[in-house]
Amino acid sequence: MAHAPREIIIAKNLGFQYVGARKAAIQGIDLSIRENEFILLTGPSGCGKTSLCRCLNGLIPNFYQGEWTGELLVDGLSVTTQLTSELSRKVGYVFQNPENQLFALTVEKDIAFGPENLGLSRQEIRQRVDEAMNVTGTLPLKDLAPYELSGGQQQRVALAGVLAMKPSVIVLDEPTSFLDPRTAEEIMRATDDLRRELGLTIVVVEHRLDLVSRYAERIIVMDGGKIVADGDLEETLDEKFDLLQGLGVGVPRVSLLWTMLRRDGLVSGKVPTHLESAAASLQGMMNQ
C-alpha cells in the first residue's frame, strides 16, 4: 500500500482583509494540498483567488498590509512568522504580466537573481542557473535582454528564475493571459512536465479551464472570498456543473457540450474534462 503524499499546504480558517477594504478578500479558507498535486484555482473576478495565492508565498501579510485570521502552513513554515524571503525558498510565484517580473539586463542575470539573494556560494548559484535554464529550455536565450523576448519566452524565463530557488510549490497566477493560444498551451504543458520531473506541487489560477483541464486533477472554486467547491476535477465538473456555469466560470467547451447532450438524454456517463476524453466518450456513444 502506497503512502499518501504529505500535506504540503495546510490552511485553517484562513482569512484576510486588506487595509481600507470594506470586506474581507478571503475568509474561512480550509485547505489541504498534497505534494505533487496539480491544482486549478478558479472563480469569477474578485473572488479572492489572487489574494489566496499571495498568502501562499507570504506577499500577504508582508507586502500587503491588513488583518490576518487563521493559520497557514506551507512546507512546514508558518506564513505569519516568516519573511517572504524565507518563504521564497519554498514557494515560487509566476505573475500574470511577463514583462514586469523580469528586470535584469540579460536572461542569465535575471535567473541568477533569486539564488543570489539566498547568499549561496558562487558555484552553487552557477549550478542552479544552468540547471534552471536547461530544464526550461531557456539556455539559448541566456545573453538576450528580457525586453527582447516574446511573451512566451519571458514566462519561461520567469519560470526558470523561480525554479532556481528550488521551491517545492509553484503558484502561477493567470500566467497565460498575455500569451497567444499556442504559447499558452506550451507553457501549461511545460509546467506539468516540470511538475512530474521535479516532484513539484502546482497551483494555477485560470479563467479558461480549457487550457488547464488536461493537466489539473483537482479544482478549487472560489466565490466572494470563500471556497465553494473543492475536489477532483472530473467529479466536480460532473456533479457541480450548474454551480460552475452559474458563477460564470469558463467551463471546458467539451464539458458544456456533453452536459447539454446528456440533459437531452442522448449521451450518458461522466462529463469529460478535456478534448481527448471527450472524443473517446463521443466515439463510444456513436458506436453503440
Partner: protein
C-alpha cells in the same frame, strides 16, 4: 467606409511591419483581426485613426486620406480603445474621464452631460459616476476606458485585446454589447487572440502573419484550417479539434461553435438511438 489601399508600413528602424494590406470596413461589419504577437495587428489599428501614416499606399476614412487629416479629426469617427486602460485614465471622477473626449471635440456642456450619463448607463457604470477611476477594479477600469471612447459615438470602433484578463461573465457582457453596436450600424473591429471568444461570436476573421494578410473569411472557415491557424500562432477552437476526431462519422469540418456542434451531434445521436431501437 474605411479603405486600406495596398498599405505598407516600415518603422524608422527599417523593420517592415505591414505589407500590402487591402481592407474595407463599413457600418454593420464585425471583424476580428488575429495573428501572432508582433504580426502587425496593433500597427494596423493605428493606421485606422491616423496615429500612423502608411509608408506606401493610403488609408481613406469616409473618403478622407489619413495623411491629410489630423488624428483629432479622425478620432471623431474612429474610436480606438487601447488594451491597457491605465494608459488613458487620468481624471478625478469617472464622469470627467468620459467627458474628456467630448470636450476635446467641442461639444456643448449640456450635450456633454447627457452623453456621459447615457454612456455610463449603457455600460452599467452609473453607480461609479463620481468615483475616482483609480479606485475601480481592473475590469471596471476597462469598461470606463471603453465608455470614454464610446461617448463620442464614433462610427468605427476598434478594440485592442478587449478580453484579456476578463472572466467568462465579463466576456459574455462584452459580446452582447458588441452585438448591439454593430446591429446599430457601427463597424466593430476587434484585435484579439482569444480563439474561443471569436468562435462564439462569429465575426469575419482576418488573419495577419508577419505583416501580411494570410487569410480572410467567416470565422468557421478560417479557424478550422490547421495550416492557417498555426501560421498565426493560434490554435483551432476546441469544437474544431473535437470534430477532427469524429470525421469518420460524416461531420462537416468547419464546426467551431458549441451550439452548432450540439445540433449536429443531436442529429447523429438521435439517428443512432433510432437504429439501436430498430435493431433490438
Amino acid at each position: 467606409m474605411i479603405t486600406l489601399d495596398r498599405v505598407s508600413y516600415t518603422y524608422r528602424s527599417g523593420q517592415r511591419a505591414l505589407t500590402d494590406i487591402d481592407l474595407n470596413l463599413e457600418g454593420g461589419d464585425f471583424i476580428a483581426i488575429m495573428g501572432e504577437n508582433g504580426a502587425g495587428k496593433t500597427t494596423l489599428a493605428k493606421h485606422l485613426n491616423g496615429l500612423l501614416k502608411p509608408s506606401q499606399g493610403r488609408v481613406l476614412v469616409d473618403g478622407e486620406d489619413t495623411r491629410k487629416a489630423s488624428v483629432a479629426k479622425l478620432s471623431r469617427k474612429v474610436g480606438l480603445v487601447f488594451q491597457n486602460p491605465d494608459h488613458l485614465l487620468f481624471s478625478e471622477t469617472v464622469r470627467d474621464e468620459v467627458a474628456f473626449g467630448l470636450k476635446n471635440f467641442g461639444f456643448a456642456p449640456d450635450v456633454v452631460d447627457k452623453q456621459v450619463e447615457r454612456t455610463l448607463e449603457a455600460l452599467g457604470l452609473s453607480e461609479y459616476t463620481d468615483t475616482s477611476p483609480f479606485l475601480l477594479s481592473g475590469g471596471e477600469r476597462k469598461r470606463v476606458a471603453l465608455a470614454a471612447i464610446l461617448a463620442t459615438e464614433p462610427d468605427y470602433l476598434i478594440l485592442d485585446e478587449p478580453t484579456i484578463g476578463q472572466d467568462y461573465q465579463q466576456k459574455e457582457r462584452l459580446r452582447n454589447f458588441i452585438l448591439q453596436l454593430y446591429s446599430q450600424g457601427k463597424a466593430v473591429v476587434m484585435i484579439t487572440h482569444d480563439v474561443e471568444f471569436v468562435a462564439e461570436s462569429n465575426p469575419k476573421v482576418i488573419l495577419l502573419s508577419q505583416g501580411r494578410i494570410v487569410a480572410r473569411g467567416p470565422a468557421d472557415s478560417v479557424l478550422s484550417k490547421d495550416e492557417l491557424v498555426k501560421k498565426a500562432s493560434l490554435v483551432r477552437p476546441q469544437m474544431s479539434r473535437l470534430f477532427s476526431e469524429l470525421t469518420n462519422y460524416g461531420f462537416p469540418s468547419d464546426v467551431i461553435d458549441v451550439h452548432r456542434a450540439r445540433l449536429l451531434l443531436e442529429e447523429k445521436l438521435s439517428e443512432a438511438k433510432v437504429r439501436v431501437a430498430q435493431n433490438s
